[in-house]
Amino acid sequence: MKETYKFWRFLLHHHSIKIFASFWIYTDLLIYLIFNICFRTVEPLEYYRRFLKENCRPDGRELGEFRTTTVNVGSIGTADGSALVKLGNTTVICGIKAEFGAPPTDAPDKGYVVPNVDLSPLCSWRFRSGPPGEEAQVASQFIADVIENSQIIHKEDLCICPGKLAWVLYCDLICLNHDGNILDACTFALLAALKNVQLPEVTINEETALAEVNLKKKSYLNIRTHPVATSFAVFDDTLLIVDPTEEEEHLATGTLTVVMDEEGGSGLTGAKLQDCMSRAVTRHKEVKKLMDEVLKSMKPK
């Protein structure tokens, strides 16, 4: 292919042959492109391995590089808190609504945080409409575990009157575009939306025993920790790539998601797990910086 190209380039010097020659170059490149596309479709794993050997990926990223992350906070006016996160093409929007509810009988001084991840046919051809499929349920459980384990909000803060009234935060995470790494995007969207939530002040009127809501006096939630998720895909038992796209997730032999709380981790060397930890620490710093910038730039309501 290179030889034909050189030959035609030599002929290009003659103007009359220019048009003719450029036609041939065009078909050469076209054949080359078609071959590439066919190879990618027929042998995706081999195609990927060729890139991984050079320590890069088809979309041009390094193995440890995240896609461009964008976050937009407070875009949904009807929700009490909202955030939209884009990780490359993966788009997740989180909307939080606060409602009243009775606290659980075994924990009368606690409120509820109810997450729900919705993967609809809109985001990917893999999902069908109807009851939530396995991936959506697993993602919802994952987010519930993150909220529970990281103690992002103390449920006691959501209690208004012990045993009688508490806040219930319904967190709906809707995926608009699924291009891999849903869990990282959801965790980030949830965190940003929770930081955006403003709850009105509620007092219980002693005479009527009814709750009185003061919409003019709103306060932000007390967010204790900042859990940030970093996902990895494992290839051929050795190679670890960060932030896999949907294609990479499909081809990978395994996945790993690390949820990092505050800056943690000592400087140990060795195990692959340790490399993941350090990458997760760096990611945590990047995400925190981005979120602080966004929240600072928001105009106060």
């Binding site: 943690g264 981790g265 140990l268």
Partner: protein, 243 residues
């Protein structure tokens, strides 16, 4: 030819206390495993992690059944390997979202080990029923699934086992915690390890811990898995030597 083979084993990693519950330290509970107890599934096993000796109180017990390689629905078939499916039924109530999450974990572990390429366009279904839960449930499920897959004769690259670790508020490590210990622990980590090189197949954790603690728990789990694999070997030897 094949009746139910029951193997009991008393496994202790370190010398703990003789009577009553084990003391804090690296010791696993007593296990028992029974294979081929159900006639309809291709393979079945019951794995028990005992609470009190001679009294079945405070046991974690899981019953597993394996069907496969069998017919698969065209929508679910994979052209070059077997489709693995795991169904986990809780002891009480209908299966919910937490069960789905555990099913996915167990399925991913099995997929890493089962040689699906030998049976393309078929399905291998693992059904797990929780009989009693007294802590370390996921590890017990993994052990039961492995024993059932062996009983069914599904080709596997290695055996796998589950080990649970709990971290106390003052950093003490407890292997194979009971339900009470899990509740009071700061973090509970479950690992699935393979038998060939003790490599980590699956890890799922709950709670807060540092990465030094994670490495420590992983090392302890790898040491404890040796005992589980020895138990597997002994129980299978005993079963096949009789018939």
């Amino acid at each position: 030819m094949e009746g139910a083979m029951q193997t009991e084993s008393k496994i202790r990693a370190e010398s703990g206390t003789e009577s009553g519950p084990r003391g804090p330290g690296c010791s696993l509970r007593h296990f028992a495993c029974e294979q081929n107890l159900l006639s309809r599934p291709d393979g079945s096993a019951s794995f028990l992690q005992a609470g009190r000796r001679y009294l079945h109180f405070g046991d974690t017990s899981v019953l597993a059944g394996v069907y496969g390689p069998a017919e698969v629905k065209v929508s679910k078939e994979i052209f070059n390997k077997a489709t693995l499916e795991v169904i986990l039924r809780p002891k009480i109530g209908l299966p919910g979202v937490a069960e789905k999450s555990r099913e996915r974990l167990i399925r991913n572990t099995c997929e890493a080990v089962v040689l699906g390429a030998l049976h393309p366009r078929t399905s291998i279904t693992v059904v797990l029923q929780v009989v009693s839960d007294a802590g370390s449930l996921l590890a017990c499920c993994l052990n039961a699934a492995c024993m059932a897959l062996v009983d069914a004769g599904v080709p596997m690259r290695a055996l796998f086992c589950g080990v649970t670790c709990a971290l106390d508020s003052d950093g003490t490590l407890m292997l194979d915690p009971t339900a009470k210990q899990e509740k009071e622990a700061r973090a509970v980590l479950t690992f699935a390890l393979d038998s060939v090189e003790r490599k980590l197949l699956t890890s799922t954790t709950k709670g807060l811990y540092s990465d030094a603690e994670l490495q420590q728990c992983l090392a302890a789990a790898q040491a404890a898995s040796q005992h589980v694999f020895r138990f597997y070997r002994e129980s299978l030897q005993r079963r096949y030597s009789k018939s």
